[in-house]
């Protein structure tokens, strides 16, 4: 059985024996080649994308009504800039949002000028037909109120509508006419307004884009972008080192960046902070995790700083569910001392003894063989051994792991997800009783059964849902955050950045500090041939 580690090991062995002196190939002069870690593209329609890797091409082809500056999320409403919308207004109750559109924006492929019909259709299809349609249930209507004006009416107030809905992949603006004309083919030939247009969708090799000459804004610097798919880590790494690709998705395992730097010292590494939330869910339906003292003991038995150190420079410390740089996240100083769960093995043992497990306990845990999951679970296994908690780890393939989580077959599962700074969204998918996971596999991502096996945060979430100001929304969100920290149905582990290794000949044109796990190339330039 081939594993990435085996193959990478081969490369390392060759390095050690001096075989390795990479010959850098001459790169295409006006083409940026990006290598994803996936087998092949599936969809380009932003409303149908289910594979993160496909978002890279979508981010070049489609645009939002409003977006934050390149390189990060917008964490507050005032961090969003007009994009396809020139301006917007919101009602006092934050239920009605009116967007005035930029005029003269052309769709690719001669599909004409973008109007309010296209924008309204983009929002409605996200609500009715998308793969995350329930995230858009708050939209009552999205209707043209003029050729260049769209009015979106919401069920509940949403002072963070720009972050929760407008700046999301599903509501990227598509051509209504192209959607109607292309039918099913729209999935792979979707038409947007972005600085790059689709040249070729090759399901075996990748998505090939070229500069859109009628782009409304500053034209892209580089003429062509090739989003290639190289699932195998060794092949992707070698392609980057040899210069066959300019940028490649990184591997989130200890030492990867350092190994790469040894082989090619001038490589640049762009990474998002926080990147993926890593959340440890205590399954409250499994013995003895119902016992809060056992959960607290486990929390005190995990040295989060050690995880951060092991995964440097990709990992960042978190103290609650949301990371400290998100609006409802807490820094260590902001937290009451009893909710910090500092690493303290002696305290952990005392808590276990008090809970009736003085002789230790054994917990069977499933984990994924994917590096980011297995690394963290293995580190935790080792740490908990010191407090006499024996984790019996079963490592399985990624699909089987998520299948077991969704069928209530796991106990201490880790979920890794790149979540936006939209607190209500995070709580809705992880902590609300409506997202309760059930053994039939039809539930959501609340793997703890929080709000079902014990009282949860549903009442607070209802209050949060009715907040009409951003400040009120965040204030309520921080109450939710503290309540989760106190009840401890889940435990925030250090975050793990999404990493891309970049050949220094490519200048992105901005610094990546956070944001989605894909970014735009239109400002990128080639600094050396």
């Amino acid at each position: 059985m081939i594993t990435r580690r085996t193959l990478l090991g081969t490369a390392m062995a060759a390095t050690a024996t001096g075989l390795y002196a990479p010959r850098v190939r001459a790169a295409e002069p006006d083409t940026l080649r990006f290598a994803n870690s996936a087998g092949g593209p599936r969809k380009l329609d932003p409303n149908q994308i289910t594979q993160g890797a496909d978002s890279w091409a979508a981010a070049q082809v489609f645009e939002y009504l409003a977006q934050p500056a390149d390189g990060d999320f917008g964490k507050t409403p005032d961090e969003f800039e007009p994009w396809l919308a020139e301006s917007w207004t919101t009602s006092d109750d934050a239920r009605t949002w009116v967007f005035t559109l930029r005029q003269g924006v052309q769709f690719h492929g001669g599909y004409g000028e973008m109007t309010s019909e296209d924008v309204a259709r983009s929002f409605i299809r996200a609500r009715d037909e998308g793969v995350d349609s329930s995230n858009y249930e708050n939209i009552v209507s999205a209707e043209p109120s003029g050729k260049y004006e769209v009015t979106v009416t919401l069920k509940n107030p949403d002072p963070l509508f720009l972050g929760s809905t407008v700046f999301t992949r599903r509501t990227m603006i598509i051509s209504k006419k192209a959607e109607q004309e292309l039918g099913e083919a729209f999935a792979t030939q979707a038409v947007g307004t972005g600085p790059y247009e689709l040249e070729r969708f090759d399901s075996e090799q990748g998505i090939f884009l070229s500069r859109f000459e009628d782009y409304w804004g500053e034209p892209a610097n580089i003429a062509k972008v090739e989003c290639l798919y190289i699932a195998d880590t060794t092949a992707r790494t070698l392609a980057l080192i040899s210069g066959e690709v300019d940028m490649a998705e990184g591997v989130r395992q200890p030492g990867w960046i350092q190994q790469m730097q040894q082989q090619k010292p001038d490589l640049q590494f762009d990474m998002t902070v926080p990147g993926s939330f890593n959340t440890l869910f205590f399954n409250l339906s499994k013995d003895p995790l119902q016992n809060k003292m056992v959960r607290q003991a486990i929390a005190h038995g995990i040295d989060k700083q050690m995880i951060v150190d092991a995964l440097q420079p990709m990992s960042r410390m978190v103290y609650t569910l949301n990371p400290p740089n998100y609006p409802t996240g807490f820094s260590e100083e902001d937290l009451p001392e009893e909710l910090r769960y500092e690493y303290n093995p002696e305290k952990a043992k005392a808590l276990l003894k008090e809970a009736g497990f003085g002789g230790g306990l054994t917990i069977p845990v499933n984990t994924s063989k994917r590096e980011d999951y297995s690394t963290q679970h293995l580190i935790i296994q080792e740490m908990l051994r010191a407090i006499d908690v024996n984790i019996e780890l079963t490592i399985m393939d990624h699909s089987a792991y998520h299948g077991s989580n969704r069928q209530n077959a796991n106990t201490l599962n880790i979920n890794s997800w790149s979540l936006p700074p939209v607190p209500l969204f995070v709580y809705n998918v992880y902590a609300s009783s409506a997202a309760n996971m059930n053994a039939e596999g039809t539930g959501g991502g609340n793997y703890s059964h929080y709000g079902v096996e014990m009282d949860g945060v549903d009442p607070l979430l209802q209050e949060m849902l009715q907040a009409t100001s951003f400040e009120g929304y965040i204030e309520k969100g921080r109450e939710v955050e503290l309540k989760i920290q106190e009840d401890l149905p889940m435990f925030g582990l250090p975050t793990l950045s999404f990493v891309v290794a970049r050949n220094p000949r490519i200048d992105l044109g901005y610094e990546v500090t956070g944001g989605n796990a894909y970014w735009r190339f239109c400002r990128a330039s080639i600094t050396t041939a």
Binding site: Y20, D132, L228, A235
Partner: protein, 312 residues
């Protein structure tokens, strides 16, 4: 002969049926939810339910099995759960790459292995024979993916002679892209074929008719190639058949390491994504090729050794 081929083809039907049944059962036993794999681990429960409904995953298993068999009989493997592309299209796009790789690597393996085997057989216990023994030992022991990584590092990365990824476009570019993956498989095949050729030729060279040919004053080249190698062709053709099948299965690892399109890579991706229709069609293709290659080899035997036809 036609009757024999038809008979053998008919014989293949229960084998294919068994393979399909085993694949169906294996995929359903394997943990992992195709809906989650297709829509992502954090997908909306409503969309997951809709997906399962649309793909018939909520039907009772016996019913799913009947639908599956009925579709297989009609060679309709449906659409990929993941990409929504008809499976027939995916197979059609990937299969030529695997066949091309198999043909090139088997040809390279034969061109290298057979002469090497003959050369060693005619110099028994001398340095060429010892060299073949060592080469064969390495060829038998080294895993294909390991050799692929080493060749990739040396010839692509260090020397820059070959591309690292993909299958290329056009004939010459395609040939340039296939040489290194084919060489990986060919080196392993040539070790096997070389050893087999050596043993077979040695056995034949000890026969009476070879001694007679030599006594009649035939040139050594004629003795070896006309009397020796030709009579060793029967075991060699078995070896070639085995070699083709091993190359087909070996292509899985090579396609992954060289990031080439092909049925092997398609299958590996499909298994990790629980893409049942693609797995079922891919495994059926492999099973079909095993049966086809065996059938072709049976027919080849008849031509290589007419006594087989007489006996039958």
């Amino acid at each position: 002969m036609a009757k024999y081929v038809l008979y053998r083809l008919g014989d293949a039907i229960p084998t294919l049926f068994l393979v399909l049944t085993l694949v169906f059962i294996a995929m359903r036993i394997l943990p992992g939810d195709p809906a989650l794999a297709a829509l992502g681990p954090m997908a909306d429960p409503v969309q997951l339910a809709l997906f399962r409904e649309r793909m018939g995953l909520n039907e009772p298993l016996p019913l799913q099995y009947i639908y599956f068999l009925w579709d297989a009989i009609r060679l309709d493997f449906g659409r990929s759960f993941i990409s929504d592309v008809p499976v027939a299209d995916l197979i059609a796009r990937n299969l030529p790459h695997t066949i091309y790789l198999t043909i090139v690597s088997v040809l390279m393996g034969l061109c290298l292995g057979i002469p090497f085997g003959v050369f060693a057989a005619t110099r028994r216990n001398r340095p060429p024979d010892n060299a073949l023994r060592i080469y064969s030992l390495i060829g038998y022991s080294i895993p294909d993916f390991y050799l692929a990584a080493i060749l990739l590092i040396v010839f692509s990365l260090q020397l820059g002679w070959f591309p690292i990824n993909g299958a290329g476009t056009g004939f010459w570019d395609g040939l340039h892209h296939i040489l290194l993956p084919a060489m990986t498989l060919a080196m392993l095949k040539s070790a096997f074929m070389g050893r087999l050729t050596r043993t077979s030729v040695l056995e034949v060279l000890g026969r009476d008719y070879v001694r007679t040919a030599r006594a009649k004053g035939a040139r050594e080249g004629r003795v070896i190639y006309r009397h020796g190698l030709r009579n060793a062709m029967l075991p060699l053709s078995t070896g070639i058949g085995i070699s083709i099948l091993a190359t087909l299965s070996g292509s899985v690892a090579v396609e992954l390491v060289f990031n080439r399109p092909g049925i092997g890579r398609l299958l590996i991706d499909a298994i990790s994504e629980r893409d049942y229709p693609v797995i079922q069609a891919g495994v059926m293709m492999f099973a079909f090729f095993v049966i086809l290659v065996n059938l072709v080899m049976d027919v080849v035997y008849v031509f290589v050794d007419p006594r087989i036809r007489m006996k039958s």
